[in-house]
Subunit: 308 residues, 2 copies
């Protein structure tokens, strides 16, 4: 991953107004800055990558259609962008996907394919679809997807004076890689920490092992952070770009969702709240910290529980 500033700038310029320039706000917590991807039209940052990938398609893909696998947030973003750009959308879901997120994806025309309940099964179904001539996007490796994620870092870099440390959720690491690439390209010299839940700390374990590991028995309340393996390329990029990976206790994540709602007025889903959880665990100081709040799509019943 090595985008030039002109590539980054043009990716940002291609985003519609409805997607770009989400608020960067000062929290009530002194010195804390929040990037509110929670306010995106489909409730998560994935809409930037979906748009960036689909807006650059050639004519054949626009006719045959495009397929993607998603734990949920990318799906809603993908159908939102596909509808506006007139591209037939195929989605591959595992059985464990959040009903709320399937519902968001189904708001727009799309064809849904179910796969077995294994993280890797998603990519097997994608290969199958590719054989029938559909363009498939592997969001873990796709350059345009990373470029879409990078637009978040591009925007944050307009305000480098406001933070010296960034905390960003990590699953396959796409958000962290894209964001860090853009921040570094624009001269950010501070720390960038990935954050994972203890129930699925695949990237943290891979860091310790010095190579991508396969994580068996992962179980986390963060339905957006479900990757149990990392492509080698993503592992290498994360190693190069991040200061390290913080792991937060599953039990702190509901506290972080509650804190963000009641003290900051922001609805964040569990996977978006892991950075706040790291602050609540005193792993880093809020002062000078930028939290990337990646999405808001939490099941209402779960949110009620967490507010208790």
């Amino acid at each position: 991953m090595d985008f030039s500033t002109s590539e980054l700038e043009s990716a940002h310029a291609l985003l519609p107004d409805a997607i770009k320039n989400t608020p960067l706000v000062s929290g009530r917590t002194p010195g804390l800055t929040l990037k509110l991807e929670t306010l995106q039209p489909t409730g998560s940052y994935k809409i930037r990558a979906a748009w960036t990938a689909l807006v650059r398609l050639g004519e054949p893909a626009r006719v045959k259609g495009v397929a993607l696998s998603s734990s949920g947030n990318f799906a809603g973003a993908f159908t939102w962008a596909a509808k506006r750009l007139g591209v037939p959308a195929h989605l591959v879901f595992t059985p464990s996907v959040s009903g709320l997120k399937v519902q968001m994806a189904e708001e727009f025309p799309c064809q849904i394919h179910r796969c077995e309940d294994r993280y890797e099964a998603r990519y097997e179904v994608l290969e199958h679809l590719a054989e029938s001539g559909i363009l498939t996007i592997d969001h873990r490796l796709d350059q345009n997807v990373h470029l879409g994620h990078a637009t978040i870092g591009w925007e944050c870099a307009e305000h480098l004076e406001r933070f010296e440390r960034v905390l960003v959720p990590v699953s396959t690491g796409g958000l962290a890689i894209g964001m860090a690439t853009a921040l570094r390209a624009r001269g950010f010299r501070g720390e960038i920490w990935g954050v994972q839940p203890s129930g699925n700390d695949t990237a943290a374990r891979s860091f310790r092992a010095g190579r991508p590991i396969q994580n068996r028995g992962a179980a986390t309340c963060c339905d957006a952070l479900t990757a149990t393996s990392l492509p080698q390329a993503a592992f290498d990029e994360l190693k190069r770009l991040l200061s390290g990976i913080l792991v937060v206790n599953e039990a702190t994540i509901p506290e972080a969702v509650k804190y963000l709602a009641l003290s900051e007025g922001v609805i964040a889903e569990p996977g978006a709240a892991v950075g706040m959880a790291a602050l609540l665990e005193n792993q880093k100081r809020p002062d000078g910290t930028l939290l990337i709040l990646s999405g808001r799509n939490i099941e209402p019943a779960l949110l009620r529980d967490y507010l208790t």
Copy 2:
């Protein structure tokens, strides 16, 4: 109320960065724009007025102190600003004030005075404090308070192309008056509607009566919209500036809080959600509408109930 553009501009310039330029965001609901005063450090727009009133004080008031009565949101804002500006703060509360809001006010040094459980009793205690040499602010009439509120309209007016209609909560009408004054001063020609809950529609009834009425037996879930009478000056200004006042059913307000949380990712308190309630009741169309979301300070237990 007739502020010049230079008065408005300088009031805006006097606000600290932590207060000014709250996000103006496109909602998930097509065509809807939201002004997020919910993201203010003390969780409500009142912080602008508190700052504007206190930053202009002369030396005697800075020593003797300043007193204010509030249903809650102004109190937290007042102590926040008083602490930073080194002014002794006195607060007058009715017994029915939200515990959460008292707690927010008490985060900073202040002296609390309780009054009887009548809206007007607040102003009687203020008069008593004034006799002991403390400067009292009647937030219903104070020019600097209105000027503080006006800074919201000043900011919204940077984006006149995004809306043709504004919905703003009304209690004593200060927010509506200040905001409308600034919007009109900067050339906004669209509609500005006040919104009140059916449980306390004092301004709407006054409009119908053609004069300020005394509203007996008011009871609303909006603890920020408790004014049961209007000063004549406020009534006259509201008549001059507003297109009219919409009244929403109490039962719709929890729905509006829920909608803002789950569909827009924004925590809003009941009094801030009345505009959204008017849209849910189809009183106005979302497309082209700007909602002023005035605050987020809702009791956690109430928020949980509303999310059910």
